[in-house]
Symmetry: C2
Subunit: 398 residues, 2 copies
C-alpha cells in the first residue's frame, strides 16, 4: 500500500489533467529550443494542419502603410512537417534578446502549447523566450540576490478611489537593513497597467542583475497603474474578468499627474525611503514618458532624475485638468531653475513619436536646458524600453 | 499635430501588434460569455476547421480505468459553426463555481484566444472563468478591502539554499496597523509551487472576501514552495525557462519537514506576528496535507490548527530523513497530549486517497484524538481544495 501510494502520488497528484496530457501526442515536444549556435527551433504538433507558421519579433519586420504613416509589422515564417503531425522551423542565429511569438495553424492564431512562458499586452497574449550570451542575460533570472516584489493597494483621494494597485520592488537586502533607499517611479504606456513593467519589461530581472553587477544603486522601484479610471490590472479589480480593452479614460487629461502625490505619500510612509528630490526619480515609456514629463514639470521640486522613453509629448489644453498641460515653457523654466541631476531622453529612429521628440529637444536646446539623449534602432517597442531602463538606471542616485 | 498625436496614441500605443489584432478575424469575439441564466457560451474563430470541441470541468466527467484504478476524466462537447469560421457552444445552466477549459480544433489543443485569464498546473495551461451568485462569488475580486501579496525570498540553511521564494498575503489593514497577526501556512501539492494557492486556489480572493464578511479573522497567509530541490516556480529561478516538469526530488523524503522552521523564522522576524502555537495554523492539499501532517507531528508545540486537505498519508521510512516518518503513533501521542485546537480533515468521495484517509481516521478514532471531518463529492481536484480553504479558515484563531 505504501509503495503504491507513492507511485500514485507521483503520477496523478497534479490531477487527472496531468496524466491526460501525457496521453496527448504533443506532450514530449520541446519548443522553443534555443540551440548552442543561437538558432532557435520551434515545434508544434498539429496533426490535421495544411499550413503552420510562426510570427515573431525575431523575424525581419516589413514596412506597411497605415493611416498613421509607415509602420513596422511582424512577418511569418513557415514550419515544415518533419514527421506526421509534427511541424518544425529553425531560425538563423539570433542576437541575445527577449523575443515573443505565436503560431498560426491553418490561419488560426495559436499559442505554443509547449511553452508556458507568456506575456500579455492589453488582450493579446504571446509566448516569450530569451536568447542569452549578451543583452538577454540581464532579462533572465540569474543566480544573484533577488529583490522582493509586492502587489500593494494604496488610497488615492485625488482620484476618489479607496484602493488602487501598484507593484513595488524592494532590492535584495532591504528587508534586513535599516538603511533608507532612493525610489524610482517607473510608469507604463497606454494599454498597460501595474503589471506591465515587471512582466513585459523584465524590470525585476534587470534591477536584480544590474544591482548585483554593481552598476546600479540599490533602489526601490514603484510601478503604479497609470490609468486614472482603473483600480487595477484586468482580473485584479472587481468585475474585471471580461476581455481587457484599451483603457483611454483618465489617462492623458491631467488626473494621473495631479494624483501622483498620493502615490509618493503611500510609498514614503510605508517604506524606508529618502524623501528629497535627490533621491527620487521618475521615468516611463510612451504615455508613461508623457506622464513623467508633465508630473516632473508640475512638481518641479519633486524629482532629481527624469527619464522620457519614447515619450508622447504634446497635449491639447482641454478639460478640467487642462492646467497640467498649460504654460509648459514656464513650468520647464521653473523646473530647470534648479535643474534635475539628469534629464534623459531615449527614442527609436523609426518611432512614430520621433519627430515630436526632435521638436521637444529643439525646445530644450533653445532654452539651454541640459539633457542626455540616446537614439536606438527600431520603433515603439518593448525591446527599446528594456534597453532604456538598463541605460537609465545606472545613472541614478550617484 | 497635437490632435493627430492623440489619435495615434490611442490607436497604436500598445505596439503594432495591437492594431494587427484588430485586423484579425477573431478580434471582436466574446468568449466565454456568462449569460444571465448561468449558461455559458464559448466562441472561437477557426476558419478552416472541420471539428471544434471544448473540454472543461463544467461538463460531466467520465470514469475511466487507469493503472491506478478508476479515475474521473474530463469530457468534451462539440461546437457548431454558426457563421463562416465562427464556432459556438452554450452549456446548460452551471452552478456558481470557478471552471477551467480548453478548445480542441481538429484535435489540436488550443487556448481560447478571446480569454486572457489562465491558470498553469505543471506544464498545462487552461483558461478559467467564474460563474457567480453562489460559491464562485468568493473566488472573484469583489469591492472589499484587499490584502497585499508579496513574492519574498528567504534563506533556508536546512536546505542549503541562500534563496527560496514564497508568497505572503498580508490582510487589508496590516500596513497601517501596529497589531500582531496570526499566521496560516498554506501548502501546495505535488506538481505545485509557491504560486499554486494564489493562482489555482484563489486564496487571495477567498481570504479578502471571507475577512470582509467577518467570517475569518484577519491573518497572514504564507504560501511557501514545498519542493525541497526547487528555489522557486518555473521561470522564477535561474535557468528555469525550460518546460516545467513534475518535481519529485526532495518532496516527500523529509527535507521540507525538517527545513520548515527556516520559513517560520523568516516570517516571524519580518512580519508582525504572534509567535505561539495558538496563533499558528498549517494546512495543505495532497502532498501539502502530507507535509502538514508530518510537520505538525514533528514539531508538536508549533501549530494550534492543522488541516489535511485530500492528504497523502503513508510514507516509507527510507533515506537520511526517515526519522521524520518513523514512529508516527508516538509522535501523534505527543502532539495530542496538548491537542491542537483544531485537527481538520477534508476529502472527496472519489479521491484515490480516500481509503488511506479512512484508515488514518480510524487510527485517530482508536486513540481518541479529536478531529473535524468534511466529506465532499468528487475527487482530487482544486474545486474541493478551494472549498476546504473556505471551510477551514473560519475556524482558525477564535
Amino acid at each position: 500500500m505504501k509503495n503504491i501510494c507513492m507511485l500514485i502520488m507521483t503520477c496523478l497528484m497534479s490531477s487527472w489533467a496531468f496524466a491526460q496530457q501525457a496521453l496527448w501526442g504533443g506532450s514530449n515536444i520541446v519548443s522553443p529550443q534555443v540551440n548552442e549556435d543561437h538558432t532557435v527551433t520551434f515545434r508544434i504538433y498539429a496533426p490535421k494542419a495544411s499550413k503552420v507558421e510562426v510570427e515573431g519579433d525575431f523575424l525581419a519586420a516589413k514596412t506597411v502603410d497605415t493611416p498613421f504613416g509607415k509602420q513596422d509589422a511582424p512577418t511569418k515564417a513557415s514550419l515544415k512537417e518533419v514527421k506526421p503531425g509534427l511541424w518544425e522551423y529553425t531560425t538563423v542565429p539570433l542576437a541575445s534578446e527577449l523575443y515573443s511569438y505565436v503560431f498560426y495553424v491553418n490561419d488560426m492564431r495559436v499559442l505554443d502549447p509547449s511553452n508556458v512562458f507568456l506575456s500579455r499586452d492589453v488582450a493579446t497574449i504571446q509566448n516569450i523566450f530569451i536568447v542569452g550570451d549578451g543583452r538577454g542575460d540581464n532579462y533572465m533570472v540569474q543566480d544573484v540576490p533577488h529583490g522582493n516584489v509586492a502587489k500593494v493597494w494604496y488610497e488615492s483621494p485625488a482620484l476618489g478611489m479607496d484602493q488602487r494597485r501598484m507593484t513595488v520592488y524592494t532590492p535584495a537586502g532591504y528587508e534586513d537593513s535599516k538603511k533608507k533607499y532612493p525610489v524610482l517611479y517607473l510608469l507604463h504606456g497606454a494599454g498597460g497597467d501595474e503589471n506591465a513593467w515587471s512582466e513585459l519589461g523584465r524590470a525585476t530581472q534587470i534591477l536584480d542583475n544590474l544591482i548585483a553587477q554593481g552598476k546600479v544603486e540599490p533602489m526601490i522601484v514603484v510601478m503604479p497603474n497609470g490609468n486614472g479610471a482603473q483600480q487595477a490590472a484586468p482580473g485584479e479589480a472587481p468585475s474585471s474578468m471580461e476581455k481587457p480593452t484599451f483603457m483611454n479614460k483618465k489617462t492623458m487629461e491631467g488626473s494621473i499627474e495631479k494624483a501622483f502625490p498620493d502615490i509618493i505619500k503611500y510609498v514614503e510612509k510605508h517604506y524606508r525611503t529618502y524623501t528629497d528630490k535627490k533621491h527620487r526619480a521618475i521615468c516611463g515609456l510612451s504615455m508613461g514618458g508623457f506622464h513623467s514629463l508633465y508630473i516632473s514639470a508640475l512638481y518641479p521640486d519633486m524629482f532629481g532624475y527624469v527619464g522620457l522613453f519614447s515619450a508622447a509629448i504634446h497635449k491639447d489644453n482641454k478639460g478640467p485638468n487642462a492646467d497640467v498641460y498649460q504654460n509648459l515653457e514656464q513650468k520647464l523654466a521653473k523646473q530647470f531653475q534648479h535643474a534635475p541631476e539628469l534629464y534623459w531622453i531615449g527614442i527609436g529612429k523609426t518611432d512614430f513619436l520621433y519627430n515630436d521628440n526632435v521638436s521637444y529637444r529643439k525646445l530644450l536646446d533653445e532654452k539651454g536646458y541640459k539633457y542626455t539623449y540616446m537614439e536606438t534602432g527600431e520603433g515603439h517597442i518593448w525591446r527599446n524600453w528594456r534597453i532604456y531602463l538598463s541605460e537609465f538606471t545606472p545613472l541614478l542616485f550617484k
